[in-house]
Assembly symmetry: C2
Homo-oligomer: 320 residues x 2
């Protein structure tokens, strides 16, 4: 048998997984990241867990074909040029891992890994191209074309959150105005929800949230389901802006699948169905036969996307 | 020696060219398109011209490796599903050409061909990825990643002109509001120039154009060069909106080269330098080292882009 190890190096935890050839997870292990920490030390932990995973499954380490790691930041040719929450700058992560583990390793950005995971064994399985839009605290993404990550020539591509959705619009954390992330992240929805509450003391948002300090990304959805008109208009606006991002991605790339992931994707069809409806009103998309339109779907893999995608990435690199 | 034939099937002319392996044009021939006309008849003309091109250059037809054709419309797997100005609907152009010419043929969209031409022997030569934005009557484009056209799974991708630049903005010919084309085409600039003239009788635009009916895509540029403030603000606005399109393309794809073509690219550095300046103020792009930023350049190939790109396309297909 042939196996891969996938590693998701997050700001909080380092999660490792042993996967079979079909990218099913057989075993997981994790440790705290304790960032900032030297990459050497992080890679020692990954090496230890890699051996341990095989032991736990009674698998010979020689049967592991390679190790893929995903982490935040801009990554090119195995070097993490910048990852703020790990405090990595120009860290040759691939090289360090290979030296410690004595197997072929590959490193990719975690958002790209999540997209590749959906392609390899999630909602994009069996398709040839996929764009993932990940909506959490921020908005990220990944582009998979012909089964491979497209990350830009410099490793900085697929920054869905920083598409300009509204020229001269809201200030984004990046410093630009009008970025998609300033309208369509959980952070933006939470801020908008609070603002609507302050302007509308009669809104059910008050009762449902239990107060302004308890508002989260689900509050507006919960209130809208109970018929609160203020909450519904929050959701409508959120989806309207998201549809601009989706339309721009589709107009440029026409992928088979647009996969919506991240915390907000937990809403499933409550998010996907109205988004799909709004996107399908676009005049360019309307000219396409239904079978030729990109499908908009929710992500399947959620928290495991990083390790699955990292494993799929090393598998792809080994096939090159 | 090895040669290719490139064909550009336009609404007005069918231009054929004989090219060497480096995509230098050795000989050209053209006939009127006389659209609407049956694809069979068009392909007969292409076959006749293909043989004639070789005769004129004293080249044995056996030395031609393949024939590439570019035409407007949505094209997938050699079938033109829709091309309005040729009145083509579901025309299996590749199949018809191969039957008439007895050589491997390939068909691609003309905007994609223009992008591939810049990649193969124009301003993107020697780079690995390129996005072309073509600004003429409308705004089109082409995406080249890892040396190959990315046209979307359905053949409908790279529609730069229909990126939403201004949500709820100007009505576009496609039926949507706020498309880039509604702000950044020659058509849009001409309309805007006329509007500014009507509101400003003291503008030099009147003298330079010789009257409102003579305004073209260059009028504003000419007047701006002579210090007309109204013209300058027209140009500034045109470039500002174009920069939104470029920023969105770069944020998503980070290609090595963004190539500006079409009639408006005749302005060269008068367009490129301020565009580059504006794009470089984007916060995401500013985080990249200068060497890691996409280069914005003017297209080189102009009218020959179709035949060069079509030839480069068949060359790529034959290498598969």
């Amino acid at each position: 048998m042939r196996y891969y190890i996938g590693v998701d190096i997050g700001g909080t935890n380092i999660v490792t997984g042993l996967l079979d050839e079909d990218f099913n997870i057989l075993q997981k292990l994790s440790v705290k990241t304790n960032a900032p920490r030297a990459a050497e030390s992080i890679c020692d932990d990954i090496a230890t867990m890699s051996h341990k995973l095989c032991e736990m499954q009674g698998i010979n380490f020689d049967e592991v074909l390679g190790i893929g790691a995903a982490c935040p930041g801009v990554i090119k040719d195995g070097v993490v040029s910048f990852a703020s929450n790990l405090k990595f700058e120009n860290v040759p992560l691939k090289g360090i891992l290979e030296r410690k583990i004595h197997k072929k390793c590959a490193v990719c950005n975690d958002a790209n890994a999540a997209a590749l995971a959906e392609y390899a064994s999630g909602s994009g399985k069996g398709y040839n191209s996929l764009v993932a839009i990940t909506i959490g605290t921020g908005v990220g993404g990944g582009i998979i074309l012909n089964g491979r990550i497209w990350e830009g020539f410099n490793g900085a591509g697929a920054e869905m959150g920083h598409i300009i959705a509204v020229p001269g619009g809201r200030l984004c954390t990046c410093g630009n105005r009008g970025c998609l992330e300033a309208y369509c992240s959980a952070t933006a929805l939470i801020n908008d929800t609070k603002e609507v509450m302050l302007n509308n003391p009669d809104s059910k948002l008050w009762e449902i949230s239990g107060g302004i300090d308890n508002v989260d990304g689900q509050t507006a959805y919960l209130a809208a389901k109970q018929g609160d008109k203020y909450a519904q208009s929050l959701i409508d606006r959120f989806i309207k802006y998201l549809s601009i991002g989706v339309v721009n991605v589709v107009t440029l790339l026409q992928p088979e699948i647009v996969c919506i992931g991240g915390g907000m994707s937990a809403e499933g069809e409550n998010l996907i169905a109205p988004l799909d409806e709004m996107v399908s009103h676009n005049a360019i998309i309307k000219t396409l036969a239904k079978a030729h339109r990109p499908k908009i779907v929710a992500a399947h893999l959620l928290n495991d996307a990083g390790i699955v995608g990292a494993a799929a990435h090393i598998a792809g690199e080994l096939k090159k």
